[in-house]
Amino acid sequence: MNWYKWLPVLMIASSAGPAIAIFFLAEESHGWRTLWNMLGAVLKIVLMGVLFYEVHLGREIAFHVPLMPGLTFKLHADSLSLLFAGLSTVLWFLTTIYAIGYLEHSPHRSRFFGFFSLCVSTTIGIAMAGNLITLLIFYEFLSLTTWPLVVHRGNPTSIAAGNRYLVYTLGGGALLLLGVVWLQTLVGEIDFVARGGLSALEAGTHNDLRLIFTMLVLGFGVKAALVPLHGWLPGAMVAPAPVSALLHAVAVVKAGAFGIVRVVYDIFGIEFCERLGVLEPLAGLAALTILFGSWRALTQDDLKRRLAYSTVSQVSYIVLGAAVFGPKATIGGIVHLVHQGLMKITLFFCAGNFAEELGLHRVSELDGVGRRMPWTMAAFTVGALGMIGVPPVAGFVSKWYLGWGALEAGMPWVIAVLALSSLLNAGYFLPILYAGWFAERTSPWPATHGAPFPGTSIHFPPDSPANMGGPSATETCANPPAKLPREPLMPPTRGKHRASHEAGAPTAIVFGSEGSPSVPGGLSPASTSTAAWEISPLLLAPPLVTAGLSLLAGIFAGSSFSPLYWARFIMMGEY
């Protein structure tokens, strides 16, 4: 009896347990909820560390429960599942912190955090699934548990987006189910094993296998937002920022991409896929998605929608990496799973901060935001440059390996796709950076400390902590940080107040909020106080950490603590 075979189960339970506990908490018990959330998040990180250690030692970690004859519920931890689970765990921890700061004053918190934790459990389940059936179970669960989060705000837009999301994902799930059943009838139960287990089948079944491959890829492709199955993603951006950040940038779309990676490498085996000739069409689809997503992003004015299309484009890099035959492309695709997650979550955190603090939702409103929120904007800059593929941010490493792999496989056109995509990425990200850092602000901010749910009727009295940027505003005024924004800010508005110089420097000046219905007139406590932090630390720290991580992942790519190192480790098993 090995104790460590329970580790995957514990990984799932460490967030499912708190989820159940949170469902039973009253709406007001803020402290308990936070405690449960953080307990689960920290526990999961600890378990993750243990798992990494065990797997690196080469230990076999698997957990079986027979469901019925020929069907086994199997969890296991191999290097690939750890990559995805590790990413989800770390980002869940950060997103939980962010969500606590973002949502603690909105309605239905228990419901939100409960489903949020359940989502993470199912994501971990997807990562740890040991065979297709288990993966399918968790995959369907993920669709169901994310739906309440998409429609969390309850307004007609969210409901419509949620319905569309359900149609897409359930349709995809059904297709997937068909594929799995068909495969099961053909070869019986198959586990995920490195290099796949189908290559021994006789040539007569190859046509069936091609069709099964198509069904599986399209089924997963719905969540991975492959064109033309991506229609749900931009709509789902109505969800609150933490949901967009973790689920739509990381968990859900990655679950799809991860499923495709599993199918290619651990069901069929990449070499067998190459023989079947299914890789080229997949690569073509991925390339189309990359370019199409970038092109659509160019014309979006809504910041989150622009980011969503960027996600459509970037997730397909992972698929592209899987579809190009060769170890280097494999590394590039797999490492992009992590890199894209880090960079995109940063961008969504920052977009949430702009919306939360200043009421900025559109790209055309972002002029001069870098002076008001320099740290958030700096984090956004790192993420955006990484997406373009500017070294030394992590995205460059992915692109380097993808390009190298494509050349290795004799597909130079992929380089052209990567280059064109970089140009398009630059085309839609650089204007944001320009607006943020260089453009002059000519109009007041739409809202300061707007209520997180514009669709609901909740408003707070002007002097409540919600309007003061959380409990931090008073604390930090007494202890001004040593670090300052680079540029003091001088936009011409009537609510302008100068920071007090004796206090040592708070320069982030809060404006009177003409647009906010909750604040009568231009002079409210919120506008006279000067926040030393540009936004509550709970909201500022997560994007700074993820931006730092994506920078570090690029700078220290060659070291043995980098995602790249782990991706190489995974690749060793697949060829």
Binding site: G171, L175, V222, F292, S364, L407, A505
Partner: protein, 658 residues
């Protein structure tokens, strides 16, 4: 010892971090009370400002005193980093650090003198230090990834320098710069990845160059590298950002842009090109592009009215020599006994010569705009004349040495091309000298009213670079160096070198004496707006109507700004007292670049004033009918129809199963 090198090169970034983290109280107070800025470098000088001009000094010392071939292997950094201070790196590092040092000290005097507010000055130093950091750090990099990292840091930071004064024309210039820089990055990325693939994953330049020489896809990679780094180098036809960005940037920034930053493209070529492997097609292209640049840009520059735009064209023209020499090196076949080594040395010498000279020329422009005393002004003008003569390869200057070395390597061109080149290279001295005489004529005769006299911090760096220009041949003659004959330092050689500049001088004198008005009218007819080919692109891209002439920057930023310096659009003919361009028929002998003159003034700058987009080409890209049609077709699938599609697939699957 290796860490010493890293520390030395890292100093600009360290000061930058200090700048970013310092709560600079003077900044806010200056803003608040609108205080005069004259005395703020007094006792309360912030530490970063005191240190900033010194930032390149450690790098200079490292270049001079650290042992040669000092190697530092950092496998954990990026994709495995290798730093080595080889001969090339030392030469480039010494030059780069010198020019940055001069420009930094110059900026220390220039910024207050031109009335920059403290906040603007701070912003300038931020970008200045970031650009410097990238530029210094990329030099000892011996692997492609770390080189790209620092190259990118430099390229992107320089954008902040270009749009330091955010007027409409400057922003347009910045857009052109950034669009081309990103394009260059992307193309270069493709080339480098390909080289890495050929080298079986080795990222070091040495491995890649070897693999490239033998590789089957050598020419494809070469084309990518030529395009990707040719943009930085100002290779025709990718040079269009230079005449836009140089006048837009503040003078010290222009000096480094033209003096050293454009040379980084050459540095990569030196490291990665498979010299002497007979790459006929790319090599010939480089030779031709180089010749086109040398003469075309000189002619286009002659028609300029802004001295900084003219200098930018001169840089394009001079970089034509670099391309020419590089092309010769690529075409040559070392297997059949061609000597490549002298050519590479020649490129190194030419780089140093041009870096010092062009840096000093740019700094001189700023000097002449301050109110110098008459004697001082004469000295400055004289010095600028000497610098111009040096560019033209006049005797006893660094230019003569560089040109002599270049001529020495012309036999590489082979019997077919050599005679032509033997004629063209000296002839370029004439055009260069004409260009520089025009430059001298364009310089203001007296300082802008309201500008104080140039402080010593501006004069000394300029004089230093000027001195360096004269010392270069001396240094080359030093122990272990060249023989005087190689550098053309014989009686005959001196005479020959003096001929082209004298000829140009005579031509200019004749034109001035005989028919100054005709010359001016001819110039106005042929006038090429800065960014020449970019305007051609504008003819083909349907862009929304924009005001033909964006408002001159006037002093949106400060009352003593230098509109003259910063106005990138061609000054309206009405100001010059010349007939409007439109009424002037195009003469038949129009140089190649200037054909669009007529329509240009109407369409001109198409890259202005589209809010929120960096590159107006991009939005219109999607409006091409076919592309639009295809993409719109796909985007229609974004609705519920995909759900339907899935259902159909489901049904098909079911049918198949049953």
């Amino acid at each position: 010892m290796g860490m010493l090198l890293v520390l030395a090169l890292f100093s600009p970034l360290a000061i930058l971090i200090r700048l970013l983290t310092s709560g600079d109280s003077t900044t806010e107070e200056g803003l608040e009370y609108g205080q005069g800025n004259r005395d703020r470098h007094g006792p309360n000088t912030p530490t970063w400002l005191a240190a900033a001009p010194w930032a390149p000094l450690p790098a200079l010392l490292a270049a001079l005193f650290l042992p040669e071939d000092l190697t530092l292997d950092l496998p954990w950094l990026f994709l495995g980093t290798l730093l080595r201070l080889d001969r090339t790196a030392r030469i480039f590092l010494a030059l780069t650090a010198t020019v940055w040092l001069a420009a930094g000290w110059y900026a220390r005097g220039y910024l207050p003198a031109t009335g920059e507010r403290p906040s603007e000055e701070r912003r300038f130093w931020g970008w200045f230090l970031a650009t410097m950091g990238g530029n210094l750090l990329l030099i000892p990099c011996q692997d492609m990834v770390s080189f790209t990292v620092f190259f990118t840091v430099m390229s992107l930071s320089a954008y902040g320098l270009v749009i330091h004064h955010p007027s409409a024309p400057n922003r347009a210039a910045g857009r052109a710069y950034l669009a081309l820089a990103i394009l260059g990055e992307v193309v270069a990325f493709a080339g480098l990845v390909w080289a890495c693939r050929l080298a079986q994953g080795e990222v070091t330049f040495a491995a890649a160059a070897t693999a490239l020489a033998a590789g089957p896809s050598r020419d494809a990679v070469l084309w990518l590298l030529i395009a990707g780094f040719g943009i930085k180098l100002g290779l025709v036809p990718l040079h269009v950002w230079l005449p836009l960005a140089h006048p837009a940037a503040p003078t010290p920034a222009s000096a480094v842009l033209s003096g050293v930053i454009i040379k980084t493209g050459l540095l990569l070529w030196l490291r990665l090109f498979p010299w002497g492997t007979g790459a006929l097609l790319p090599g010939s292209f480089l030779v031709l592009a180089g010749l086109t640049g040398t003469f075309g840009a000189a002619l286009a520059g002659l028609t300029q009215t802004n001295p900084k735009a003219l200098l930018a064209y001169s840089s394009v023209s001079q970089m034509g020599f670099v391309a020419l020499a590089a092309g010769l090196g690529l075409r040559a076949d070392a297997g059949s006994g061609a000597e490549i080594e002298p050519l590479l040395i020649c490129l190194g010498v030419f780089t140093v010569h041009h870096g010092l000279t062009k840096g000093a020329l740019f700094l001189g422009v700023g000097l002449t705009q301050t109110s110098l005393s008459p004697a001082c002004r004469r000295i400055v003008m004289g010095g600028l004349g000497l610098l111009g003569a040096s560019l033209a390869g006049c005797s006893l200057t660094s230019g003569q040495a560089a040109k002599a070395l270049l001529k020495g390597s012309l036999p590489l061109a082979g019997a077919a091309w050599q005679p032509t080149l033997e004629v063209l290279v000296p002839l370029s001295g004439v055009t260069t000298m004409l260009l520089l005489l025009r430059f001298l004529a364009l310089l203001p005769r007296e300082g802008k009213p309201g500008l104080p006299a140039a402080p010593l911090t501006m004069l000394v760096p300029w004089a230093g670079l000027l001195l360096g220009m004269f010392l270069l041949p001396v240094a080359l003659l030093g122990p272990g160096g060249f023989s005087p004959a190689t550098l053309g330092l014989t009686v005959g050689g001196l005479g020959k070198a003096a001929l082209p500049p004298l000829a140009a001088l005579a031509m200019a004198a004749v034109a001035r004496r005989v028919a100054p008005s005709i010359a001016e009218r001819l110039r106005a007819c042929l006038e090429v707006p800065p960014g020449d080919l970019l305007h051609l692109v504008g003819l083909f891209v349907a862009s929304p109507p924009v005001p033909a002439r964006p408002p001159t920057l006037a002093a949106a930023s400060s009352d003593v700004a230098l509109p003259f310096l910063n106005d990138l659009s061609p000054p309206s003919p009405a100001h010059k007292g010349v007939e409007p361009i439109a009424s002037c028929p195009l003469p038949t002998e129009t140089p190649q670049g200037s054909q669009p003159t007529l329509p240009l003034s109407e369409v001109s700058p198409p890259r202005c004033s589209i809010p929120g987009t960096l590159d107006p080409l991009l939005p219109s890209w999607g409006e091409r009918p076919v592309v639009e049609w295809v993409l719109a077709g796909i985007s229609r699938f974004e609705g519920f129809s995909t759900g339907l599609l899935l259902m159909v697939l489901l049904a098909a699957g079911l049918a198949f199963l049953l």
